[in-house]
């Protein structure tokens, strides 16, 4: 019996395929069927937001063909980046099941700090930006302190923060009310004009596909070595090629106009970094665990307080960075910066993108997808020359739909055992 076993051949039963109750899907067809199965059980992922985006774009494009012009889309990407960075921070706090309502105020305060330190006090711009982000981190650690040590619900802590930080913003702007950032400076150029060289954009668009392929092949060989089932090479190649193709087409189209803004590049870079941190590091695993079951995470030896603190601090720092970016986009730091709908747009973007308000479920890409939806609505309605009253109503409606989809999907996941 032993003599016949070939060392190179895979054993008949793989380690994770020994239970006969589990259905196995293999190859590309299997991947597609698995996807349909997941969606039907309520594990929607990014599907609703992609469908919603296609709908919104179709409607606006039919009402005004300028909407889909590459010039307008480049503008859209510039606008997305500022609030998008704030939404990325919101994803962090939502992951642990908390909320930060003061991100708008923090972003406004950060832009005021940059304006004051850089323009009025003559600090180097980099140092001013660094100071603004550090102040954001300080505010976040204050929230963490209130939450962890004094048991203050984040909802209330950040609501009072919304007012207090807004007060600080008005205070340091003082009587002038607004500070104009000098045109032609690197910071304003970054927010208004700087785009990637065309060739570089095309090269960067290939990177995700290559990384996908490389990690995919590495995973396959490692899992085969460990006698575990592995995804087929075909499905990985297909995904990588499809991703590369889509990205190249986008770059090609946007390059007909100015090209990809560096600011958007920074935003996407941060999203990818956050995605890695949330899915591939111990910290990210702990964030998901704390959001899912705080007590279980604590008993597993996770320092729950530190995880909450990291979420609040990261959120506030990203909000401050978003404020700096919007100051460079508007070339000014004013009393209006960060007020109005910035707060809700950032939160709405994260939720519309598929990060659950209930904690323990979400991903970094939801900030990217969600903010594109929100900005598309704002941009489309502006092109149609409609007032902001209608914009608020429609954005509110979309947010409501997104939350309804989230709750319904959650209920469906529970009944399908996928919570």
């Amino acid at each position: 019996m032993t003599g016949n076993v070939n060392d190179n051949a895979l054993p008949a039963v793989m380690l994770d395929r020994s239970d006969e109750r589990l259905k196995h899907e293999a190859g590309i067809g299997g991947a597609v069927r698995g996807f349909i199965d997941r969606v039907r059980s309520g594990d929607l992922g990014s599907l609703p937001v992609v469908v919603g985006l296609v709908l919104i774009w179709t409607v606006f494009a039919s009402l005004n063909p300028i909407f889909l012009s590459s010039n307008n889309l480049v503008n859209l990407l510039f606008d997305c980046s500022t609030v998008g960075v704030i939404a990325l921070g919101i994803v962090c706090v939502l992951m642990v099941g908390e909320i930060d309502l003061s991100v708008g105020s923090i972003s406004g305060f950060a832009s005021a700090i940059v304006g004051t330190l850089w323009v009025n006090q003559g600090w180097p711009v980099a140092l001013a930006i660094l100071a603004a982000v550090a102040v954001g981190g300080l505010i976040g650690s204050l929230y963490a302190l209130l939450y962890n040590r004094l048991g203050m619900p984040s909802f209330v802590a950040t609501l009072s923060g919304l007012l207090a930080v807004l007060g600080m913003q008005l205070y340091i702007l003082g009587s002038t009310g607004s500070i104009n950032l000098p045109y032609g400076s690197a910071m304003v150029n970054f927010g208004q004009m700087l785009v990637m060289p065309r060739l570089l954009a095309h090269v960067l668009a290939v990177v995700p596909g290559v990384v996908m392929l490389a990690t995919g092949i590495r995973t396959i060989s490692r899992r085969r070595e460990a006698n575990l089932s592995a995804p087929s090479l075909g499905s990985i190649v297909l995904r990588a090629v499809a991703t590369t193709l889509v990205l190249e087409i986008i770059v090609l189209y946007l390059n007909q106009d100015r090209g990809i803004p560096w600011m958007f590049g920074l935003f996407v870079g941060l999203v990818m970094l956050m995605n890695y941190a949330l899915t591939r590091t111990q910290w990210g695993r702990s964030m998901t665990a704390v959001g899912g079951n705080r007590e279980a995470a604590r008993r597993a030896g996770i320092n729950v307080r530190r995880i909450y603190a990291s979420a609040f601090v990261l959120c506030s720092m990203l909000a401050a960075l978003g404020g700096v970016l919007s100051a460079s986009r508007l070339a000014s730091a004013s009393q209006q910066a960060g007020t109005g709908d910035v707060n809700l747009n950032a939160i709405a973007a994260a939720v519309i993108g598929g990060t659950s308000l209930f904690g323990g479920r979400g991903n970094a890409y939801s900030a990217l997808l969600g903010i594109i939806v929100i900005q598309s609505i704002a941009n489309g309605l502006t092109l149609l020359d409609l007032s902001s009253s209608l914009r608020y109503m429609i954005t509110g409606g979309v947010l409501a739909i997104a939350v309804i989809v989230d709750s319904l999907a959650r209920r469906s996941r529970v009944s399908h055992g996928r919570a």
Partner: protein, 273 residues
């Protein structure tokens, strides 16, 4: 008779020894002067009525509570445990009654929660292999380790919780009501699991209200009553002895109920004749 004597002197080395453990919450003494020994390869059942101090004792051993007085000796060394991770690092693993699993994470993530391999670049393959090894050692029946805990049954979740407690190669496992929420077949599986853990040479402390389960797996039965030791029994002890020790009297509501039913039975048998 010799068999009983053998069982009374377990061969394994002493894993845990408590002497004079007391714990009070303000004016309430939850535990008073508790003595307890656990040897390697031995299942000690901890029984007692509600409020007898079982859970407090387990939480003290898990590092959740700190004793007010007394000494804990673990593998020959006196120890103090300031928090749950201290107990874990010593080699005392706890499976809590509510299991403390994250339903939104999959089996592998739960088993390795807080102990992930390569923190900056999680080694999913190695973690999955180790998870399968642990589950297979317990002859567990989990269809896939890549599905979220939410889709597992109560018994399967119990299995995952026990597998997780074995990850750090502990010397002592505390199980708080491992069969409370389980069906007949699942209870049997968990009891098998406990025997397999014992056969690996671990000390096991199990809290249970179910006398049948206790008798089925325990090598010794330690009774607590109102926070004090109230006798040590062996599985061959009669139910009456056990219930008497748990409730503190030979004449109690349980025995009265049994006597009444017994009398009724005799009466009805008499009526049929």
């Amino acid at each position: 008779m010799t068999e009983t004597v053998d069982r009374k002197t377990p061969a394994g080395e002493m894993v845990l020894s408590l002497r004079g453990i007391s714990k009070s919450f303000g004016a309430v003494s939850a535990l008073t002067d508790i003595d307890l020994d656990v040897h390697a390869g031995e299942v000690v059942a901890l029984v007692g009525d509600n409020g007898a101090g079982k859970s407090t004792l387990v939480k003290t051993l898990a590092g959740v509570h700190q004793p007010t007085a007394g000494t804990i000796t673990f593998r020959g060394q006196p120890v103090t445990m300031t928090d749950p991770s201290a107990a874990l690092n010593l080699g005392i693993a706890t499976v809590f009654q509510d299991l403390a699993l994250c339903e939104n994470l999959d089996v592998v993530a739960n088993i390795f929660l807080g102990r992930e391999l390569k923190p900056m670049q999680l080694d999913e393959t190695a973690m999955e292999v180790r998870s399968w090894t642990l589950l297979n050692e317990l002859s567990a029946r989990i269809p896939s380790v890549r599905i979220p805990i939410a889709s597992l049954s109560g018994g399967q979740r119990q299995t995952v919780a026990i597998a997780r407690s074995l990850l750090l190669e502990p010397k002592l496992i505390l199980l708080d009501e491992p069969t409370a929420a389980l069906g007949v077949a699942q209870t049997a599986e968990v009891l098998n699991l406990i025997e397999r853990v014992r056969d690996r040479g671990l000390g096991v402390i199990m809290i249970s209200h179910n006398m049948e389960d206790v008798r089925a797996v325990a090598d010794r039965i330690v009774v607590l009553r109102l926070g004090r030791n109230n006798g040590v029994f062996y599985p061959d002890a009669t139910n009456q002895e056990l219930v008497g020790a748990i409730t503190g009297a030979v004449d109690n509501s349980v025995t009265r109920r049994e006597e009444r039913r017994h009398a009724e039975q005799q009466l009805s048998e008499g009526g049929q004749l």
